[in-house]
């Protein structure tokens, strides 16, 4: 049975429970697929021994009362600390780092019986939208339409490529400005960023602490609900983790959205937006209307200020978070010359260990937080952030249940094509997703069609805070109406 890796989480779960399949068989199929897919550069640390141990343990406890993800093989983004396994946030500065502890999210998945196949490629410290800033080299999109290698998006590019190419049944991602939703859209898969505080950030290498959230990247909405359920928890080790019960997300998937109000924000209709993105959005709107939702035009007037506010707040928080990489406690330390003191050690270590984009963001963050600029840049950005959040609050108060937007301004672009562009061109990839992080809301990307060039395109739904169940259900309805089933043809 060579198609085992094509199973969705829900299908595999049911087959495992019935005894039609063992986790060891499923895990071995994934490990073989991974070994045959080095051209995608998605898995950067493979953990076959751990995977098979976990699979055997899962098979030993299988039965009706087995945990939710018992025996399901997953990939874990390299940003998550996994005990004893390299966890280096795709950075040279964490080369050789093997955490002595397990992130809360990955621990939750393993407690529910999940199997870890290995660690997944990403942009360095999750800073990037194309997986081209990784110390491991580019991850490659399994979708291919000509001679070019395409980006799987970023920063969770390895996660997106691995799920789209059926190397694993699902993967963890993290999303600070769109890093789950943009790569999901570029590879024709589903990805949800939950409300800020749903998933514990403990043990996830920090980029921008007020924006970072973990979430699942899966083959469909049901799988996203199942995996998200396991990832969420209240955790005393993260002071911003929400002390709220986690509802049954899968049970929320009724497909009935009659009477729901869907907002269409006029500010997301950007100048120069490709015709096919506009059409996809209109088609998605019509699908939700046909399913019984009420469609209303809404205004989110501060949308255009979201990216500039993000590019103050995220680098500011990053410059502070990344101060810990000093060559003392973990990771890389530069070789020092005779007479070098501790300052030279810091400066050389950080120059050698951080790639150019990370250095750029740390320095921009340092600048906007420096004496004399803190109010002009950082505090102003935080005030604008409050206004961006208020735009959403007002829409929800007016009765909107969810907001429909495009997920990305284009389909996947070629690796290397943005090399000469200035950094801001790359930042524009997140124009539709970054508002959601600033406002702390849940957002999901759902594949909705193919562009004229044959590449997948996604739509984004944005939900009310803590209403992931409702959001997933609306996404489920959209998924069923869109009927997206295309898969990349195997070339790797």
């Amino acid at each position: 049975m060579s198609d085992l890796t094509k199973l969705k989480i829900a299908e595999a779960r049911d087959a495992l429970r019935k005894g039609d399949l063992t986790s060891v068989e499923l895990t071995q199929a994934c490990l073989s697929a991974i070994d045959a897919a080095d051209a995608l550069n998605a898995f950067v640390h493979k953990t076959p021994e751990i995977a098979l141990d976990q699979a055997r343990a899962a098979d030993a406890r299988r039965g009706a009362d087995a945990p939710a993800l018992n025996g399901i093989p997953l990939g874990i983004k390299d940003l998550f600390c996994t005990k004893g396994v390299p966890s280096q946030a795709a950075s040279g500065i964490l080369k050789g780092f093997r955490p002595e502890y397990e992130s809360t999210v990955s621990a939750n998945l393993f407690a529910d019986g999940a199997v870890m196949l290995g660690k997944l490629n990403m942009d360095e410290f999750a800073m990037g939208s194309s997986n081209e800033t990784s110390v491991y080299g580019d991850a490659v999109n399994p979708w291919k339409i000509d001679d070019r290698m395409l980006t799987p998006g970023g920063s969770s590019g390895g996660s997106a490529a691995a799920v789209a190419a059926d190397l694993c049944l699902g993967a963890t991602g993290t999303d600070t400005g769109g890093s789950i939703r943009q790569p999901a859209a570029f590879t024709g898969i589903t990805g949800i960023k939950p409300t800020y505080g749903r998933c514990s950030r403990w043990g996830i290498v920090a980029f921008a602490s007020s924006l970072d959230q973990a979430g699942p990247m899966t083959k469909d909405v049901r799988d996203a609900a199942i995996m998200l359920q396991s990832m969420c928890s209240h955790d005393v080790k993260d002071s911003t983790s929400a002390a709220l019960p986690v509802p049954d997300f899968e049970a929320a998937l009724t497909g009935d959205i009659k009477g729901k109000t869907i907002g269409i924000p006029k500010e997301y209709r950007m100048d120069g937006m490709p015709q096919e993105i506009e059409k996809l959005w209109a088609d998605g709107t019509a699908m939700l209307k046909d399913a019984g939702a009420k469609i209303v035009d809404i205004s989110l007037p501060h949308t255009k200020y979201a990216l500039p506010a993000y590019y103050v707040i995220a680098p500011a928080e990053a410059s502070s978070n990344l101060a810990r990489y000093d060559g003392v406690r973990f990771g890389h330390r530069a070789k020092l010359a005779q007479g070098d003191g501790i300052t030279e050690m810091y400066e050389k270590t950080r120059a050698e260990g951080f790639g150019p984009e990370v250095q750029r963001r740390v320095m921009v963050g340092t600048y906007v937080l420096s004496a004399g600029f803190y109010d002009a840049y950082y505090n102003r950005a935080r005030r604008v952030r409050a206004l961006i959040k208020r735009d959403f609050d007002l829409a929800f108060e007016a009765g909107v249940d969810a907001i429909l937007t495009p997920a990305t301004p284009s389909s996947a672009f070629g690796l290397g094509e943005m090399a000469e562009a200035d950094p801001i061109q790359m930042y524009l990839n997140d124009v539709f997703t970054v508002t959601v992080n600033l406002a702390g809301l849940p957002g999901i990307a759902v594949p909705a069609g193919l562009g004229a060039n044959g590449l997948p395109l996604g739509l984004q739904l944005i939900g009310r805070p803590w209403e992931e169940g409702d959001l997933l259900n609306i996404a489920y309805s959209l998924e069923r109406a869109a009927g997206f089933v295309a898969k990349p043809s195997k070339w790797w």
């Binding site: 505080g197 000093d326 020092l336 070098d340 320095m363 801001i424 930042y427």
Partner: protein, 95 residues
């Protein structure tokens, strides 16, 4: 706003990242472009708006002020580039 080479050098120093002299002009140019993009925020009327400090209005969790963890010297030092006699070792700091 245009960032000059001296400012770029100062920021690199504050960030503790060694930047070779010949890279400073390029870096200053990149900073200028990014800050130019950020300047759009000056168009927004933020009078009377409090800076956002928490994403969801919630009281940060407080726990009892007691020891919950510890005695893990070996685990803490395990990943250190240079650990000696139970300490992190660094170049001489005090003359």
């Amino acid at each position: 706003m245009s960032i000059d080479i001296e400012t770029a050098r100062r920021v690199a120093k504050l960030a503790r990242i060694k930047v070779e002299k010949d890279r400073l002009p390029g870096l200053a140019q990149e900073f200028s472009a990014i800050l130019g993009f950020i300047e759009q925020l000056n168009e927004v009327d933020v009078d009377g708006i409090e800076p956002m400090t928490s994403v969801e209005p919630m009281r940060l969790f407080r726990r009892d002020d007691v020891v919950t963890d510890g005695d893990q010297q070996a685990a803490v030092l395990k990943n250190a580039p240079d650990a000696r006699e139970g300490f992190f070792a660094v170049p001489k700091v005090v003359e």
